[in-house]
């Protein structure tokens, strides 16, 4: 750790991992409710459990991104953070607001929560992923503004690098597009239309910039490849991301009442969205192959390469599977979507967060470069457990989805939704088993922070093992 203020990243990373655990537990609960419908009913109805599962995901990823920014920006800007105290303050505000919101979901019926939080004054509740009470949303905006002020000013006053600027652009976009969560038109088509400006333009737009810059940062640090080379790749990748991703929003506009041209635009541009992800894969492997030194943090390298591969598979390949309008006509809103959602979020955004945590956490905890050998071995085990489990979750959901599309929509004698759900129950059971393996991976991951802490740091391959 080169700058003292980078230390503010630590609580953000810890909170992120804590919320990650919550997300997975709720994932297992609702996964089981798919096949055991009354499990934990009426305490945790499926819709509430699902809301907690997805909201926790988004919040912990945001914690991770903020932690990443607080860690990266001082180092890239070559100066201390402008206001570390503000970062600490915002951490607690965000955490308390997040916890209260989740408790609200769990303790009172959603309609009651809306009433309690005066939703009628400025109605923003009731939309998937953006279920937070308006007051929480306002809190998120305040946290985001304070965060951008802190990080932005540090960048402006320090050294400007491509990594810094791309990161800042991504974070700025994240904040700006969130504002559309306050726009809640009565017209259902317009409602969905702008809803996607938050959801799609986040995950297939500005978040990709954040992903790209974090990946570039970690690769610069671990491979020792010239910054110029890595920055050039970053430029090309983000340009392609924006060209394909922005108009690619159209793949959500096929059947919601928007004009026909969206079927063409959405199909053409989103079919090209895998390109920047593929570039990322080529980029990551290329940089690691051209590395000038072996970094002792092998776990971080594994996460970085894993992100590049899994993001391409989950976001790129599984996204392409159902992105063309004629295909989506049948697959819209089926388990195919769930399959894509799981692997894309894990491959792109969970893994990039775990990459930067893996790289930064040892340094934040006082190590020179990396954790002990034993800790890293455990962490790499967790990588494989979680990643392989996620591959299986995705494959089982894809199987469920294909069967669902066939039985419910494609065949000459379509069957009702619930009749089909019964017939694909086997896949849901298998998905749940894979989910348990994922949890085992997550437990292993957390254990890696506590194992071998007192042992010496791992040495880089090829270096003498004296450290």
């Amino acid at each position: 750790m080169q700058y003292k203020s980078q230390a503010v990243a630590k609580p953000y990373f810890i909170a992120a991992i804590g919320l990650f655990v919550g997300q997975i537990l709720f994932g297992l609960i609702i996964g089981l409710q798919y096949v055991v419908g009354d499990f934990l009913f009426p305490e945790i109805p499926f819709n509430v459990g699902r809301m907690v599962h997805t909201n926790l995901l988004i919040v912990w990823l945001l914690f991770g991104f903020m932690g990443a920014a607080y860690y990266m920006v001082p180092e890239e800007s070559e100066r201390e953070l402008v206001a570390p105290w503000l970062a600490h303050l915002m951490f607690w505000i965000f955490l308390v607001a997040g916890a209260l919101t989740v408790l609200g979901y769990l303790m009172v019926p959603y309609a009651k929560l809306a009433e309690l939080t005066q939703n009628t004054v400025l109605p923003t509740m009731g939309r998937e992923f953006l279920e937070q009470p308006t007051i929480t949303k306002i809190g998120i905006v305040i946290v985001a503004l304070a965060f951008l002020f802190n990080v932005g000013l540090t960048v402006l006053m320090g050294r400007k690098t491509v990594v810094n600027l791309v990161l800042l652009l991504g974070l700025l976009g994240l904040a700006v597009f969130f504002l559309f969560s306050f726009y809640n038109p009565d017209n259902l088509v317009l409602d969905k239309y702008y809803w996607w400006w938050v959801v799609h333009l986040w995950v297939e737009g500005v978040w990709e910039l954040i992903l790209g810059s974090i990946l570039a940062f970690v690769l610069i640090k671990t491979t020792g490849v010239d910054r110029e080379v890595i920055e050039k790749w970053l430029y090309v990748i983000i340009a392609m991301t924006l060209i394909t991703g922005i108009i690619g929003t159209g793949h959500h506009y096929y059947w919601i009442g928007t004009p026909e041209y969206w079927q063409w635009w959405g199909s053409i541009f989103s079919a090209m969205e895998p390109i920047p992800f593929f570039m990322m894969t080529v980029f990551a492997f290329n940089m690691v192959n051209r590395r000038r030194r072996n970094h002792p943090n092998k776990a971080a390298m594994l996460w970085a390469l894993g992100t590049a591969v899994m993001a391409f598979l989950g976001a790129g390949v599984w996204g392409f599977l159902h992105t063309l309008a004629p295909v989506n006509y049948y697959t819209h809103g089926t388990q195919i979507t769930a399959a894509h959602g799981h692997m894309a979020f894990y491959g792109a955004y969970v893994m990039i967060n775990l990459t930067i945590i893996s790289y930064a956490m040892p340094l934040l905890r006082g190590r020179k470069a990396a954790n002990s050998e034993r800790s890293q071995v455990l962490e790499m085990w967790s990588f494989w457990l979680m990643t392989v489990a996620m591959v299986f979750i995705t494959l089982f959901l894809t199987g469920a989805g294909v069967l669902q599309v066939w039985l419910q929509r494609y065949t000459a004698t379509p069957q009702p939704f619930m009749a089909v759900q019964d017939q694909i129950a086997l896949f849901y059971w298998l998905r749940e088993i894979a989910g348990v393996v994922f949890l085992a991976g997550l437990v292993t991951y957390i254990a890696s922070f506590f194992v071998g802490s007192k042992e010496p740091e791992a040495a880089a391959e090829g270096a003498s093992a004296t450290a």
Binding site: I243, Y261, W264, S267, F269
Partner: protein, 195 residues
């Protein structure tokens, strides 16, 4: 002879320019290829409609634009040849001329858009106009992007930022401009002429 001399100074690399721009060009061409394929596919179902509305396009203006882009590309080639002989001034002048051709394209294309929009045509009018407007506008944005790149290269050339030994930037910008030109050479016959 001077060409050979220049080569002796700086051994010719392949591909010219920065490798990153070639990856970018490849990606961009893929997007256009998908667009052209979609056009062909979309036309299949409504051949008569496409043929009928194709007649409403201004082919003369598009032909002039084709010549403008080809000429612009030629000027870029001259600019690259100039810098290979260490002639920064010449490089700048030729790039300026290429930018002039780009401007001509932008003006003529804007006039076409003004005409169509004035007639109340929009993306939802019919499938042909949807493709015509989207394809040409997507290309139009690339012309603007290419002009920004050429302008940046030209400014650096004027400051003497390139030499016979090191002029990767000129080749990089040139490669992108040729791509913009190449796409139009497919777009023009496909949308304006072929029946």
């Amino acid at each position: 002879m001077t060409y050979a001399l220049a080569s002796a100074v700086a051994p010719r690399r392949y591909p010219p320019g920065d490798l990153a721009i070639w990856i970018f060009i490849l990606a961009e061409l893929s997007v256009f290829a998908a667009f052209f394929a979609a056009y062909a596919f979309g036309r299949l179902g409504q051949v008569e409609l496409f043929n009928a509305y194709q007649q409403t396009l201004d082919r003369r203006s598009a032909l002039i634009n084709t010549l403008a882009l080809i000429t612009g590309s030629y000027f870029v080639v001259r600019a690259t040849a100039a810098i290979r002989e260490d002639d920064s001034r010449g490089c700048f002048d030729w790039l300026l001329a290429a930018l002039g051709m780009g401007t001509l394209f932008v003006v003529l294309k804007s006039a076409e858009y003004a005409h169509h929009l004035g007639e109340g045509i929009h993306l939802g009018t019919n499938r042909f106009y949807m493709f015509y407007l989207s394809l040409t506008f997507f290309h139009f944005m690339h012309v603007l992007m290419g002009m920004v790149i050429l302008a940046a290269v030209a400014l650096k050339a004027r400051r003497g930022g390139y030499s016979a030994a090191e002029h990767t930037g000129v080749e990089t910008g040139g490669a992108y401009w040729h791509m913009v030109d190449l796409v139009w050479l497919i777009l023009f016959p496909l949308v304006y002429v072929m029946r």
